[in-house]
Symmetry: C2
């Protein structure tokens, strides 16, 4: 069994974004049922429905745990069903929630070496005592059997793999700070119980041949739903950057996500990490219809998929 | 006018704390009306009811803004009524929320040099572009007239002053890591519109003569309500540290906060930064009665005081 809960479906900033007065964010603030609020992207995954691994620690993690009974402590005075945290990148919206998980609670922190380097470079993350929360490097393309803090197998094996992406904004430097790289700075995650195969890829700058081959025939794929069109933030007047500049391919258009997945025979396709500028967030948008007709679901906070 | 909104009333970890299964946290999770949830300590203060300064950027800041209509954007596509953020320390629970305020939105970040040094030492805070969010050092005991980002006076003057405290846990080092110091690492904040005098002191290791003199006759004081008794976390089996070890004086007992304020003639006294182990959080606790009878209010998320 792969049991999966969407803790947050939105991209960095969430929906609504704190400083956005754009129409969609106003609808979310007004509790419009067609524009439900979404926190920042994260999932929890379990092989037994009892012990969970949080994939990406969003800034909203404290609220996300509060809203998710499966993640509430159940034993003793201090405990957690969260056995570990896996990071697919070092962006603010994937690591900030680690600061919520202090309080001397054992769990395992798993990330690739470039992401662990980013944490090492920020002493604030020493709030997680390394003797209690070990930092375990993940090697690209090496299957890694998840275990509970006591060593018991968790029933899931993950395989991290590099996807095209960019370094976090706060770590940009050098002559080409926005270069798209594929070095493990941004990863996708394959998850399997030995039978089913699920993927979590919240950020991806472009589809590649090897990625296409990897995903073909998968049972479940969560994929980068940041932007509907590459220039939507510019056109809406809410930002200066294209999706490509931010390291995200767009959902629509030639070479977009819908296009790229058309012949991949993935059983269940779910968009996640959806920016507040993306009309997919609105249940009554024509873009939502287009995505649905192409076989895509739009994730929402609390969505649960068991496969 | 000093207009003040409590964004969060709880100490670090909030109430309920993510990994606490103690009875009080279970009551909060069960929506017991006598144990309402509280987010991590922060206030917003305004001299005109329209432009706000957030004092301490808690990890819950995104949710706190969402719950506070006064802090919602009102103009254009991107804007905020938040003119600045003032930090009284460099703890995880006072700085993490800065990472929520990215998105190229101008405001001013004000803190003492030791706290700015802690931010400087953590490149993740470069997510706030210094050309858009200037970092302004506050000098101890120097009145500082708050201004809006366009330079307009905000109608409030703050004076930061050192209070006994300790360095953040993640920055502890040396032979006496928990030493109580009074060097500006932890500050209190005096706030005035020229007529009224309010104070915000969410962490204080002990009452001193100069602090007593400063607070005498104040209109409003928010004060460290972390623990009811110094050893309550040890006795409850939920922690190894006393309040003194964490840099917080306790509310009750000889030399405690109630005792220390007994003859200070403060018009309105409000406890804030209340730990989830503190029975003051429970409306039906005898300790709450004792505090009320001594003239203290217990702050809650959304509490608004205009003085």
């Amino acid at each position: 069994m792969i049991d999966l809960i969407v803790l947050g479906a939105a991209a960095g900033g969430g929906f609504p974004q704190w400083n956005s007065n754009a129409p969609a964010c106003r609808r979310a603030r007004a509790d419009d049922p067609a524009a439900p609020s979404r926190t920042q992207a994260s999932i929890a995954v379990s092989g037994d429905g009892a012990h969970w691994f949080v994939v990406n620690a969003s800034p909203d993690l404290r609220a996300q745990i509060g809203q998710t009974p499966a993640l509430h402590p159940r034993h003793g005075l201090r405990s957690t069903p969260i056995a570990g945290v896996i990071l697919t990148g070092g962006e603010v919206d994937t690591v900030t929630g680690l600061l919520t998980l202090r309080e001397r609670q054992p769990f395992t922190l798993l990330a690739t070496p470039p992401v662990l380097d980013l944490l090492d470079a920020n002493p604030i993350f020493e709030a997680l005592d390394r003797s209690i929360v070990p930092r375990v490097p993940l090697a690209l393309d090496q299957p890694f059997a998840l275990a509970l803090p006591d060593g018991t197998p968790a029933g899931l094996t993950i395989t991290p793999f590099a996807v095209p992406g960019k370094v976090p904004l706060y770590a940009e430097s050098g002559p080409d700070p926005a270069a798209i790289v594929e070095n493990g700075e941004t990863i996708g995650l394959a998850m399997t119980d030995g039978v089913r195969h699920a993927y979590f890829i919240p950020g991806c700058a472009r589809m590649t041949g090897p990625l296409r081959a990897r995903l073909r025939g998968a049972d479940l794929v969560f994929f980068d739903g940041t932007l509907w069109t590459d220039d939507e933030m510019l056109r809406a007047g809410v930002g200066q950057k294209t999706g490509q500049r931010m390291g995200h391919m767009s959902v629509s258009g030639d070479g977009g996500t819908i296009d790229a997945f058309a012949d991949l025979d993935v059983r269940r396709k779910v968009l996640i990490h959806i920016n507040n500028s993306n009309p997919l967030l609105l249940a009554d948008s024509p873009e939502r219809q287009v995505a649905h007709q192409a076989g895509w679901e739009v994730s929402f906070d609390g969505m649960r998929i068991t496969t």
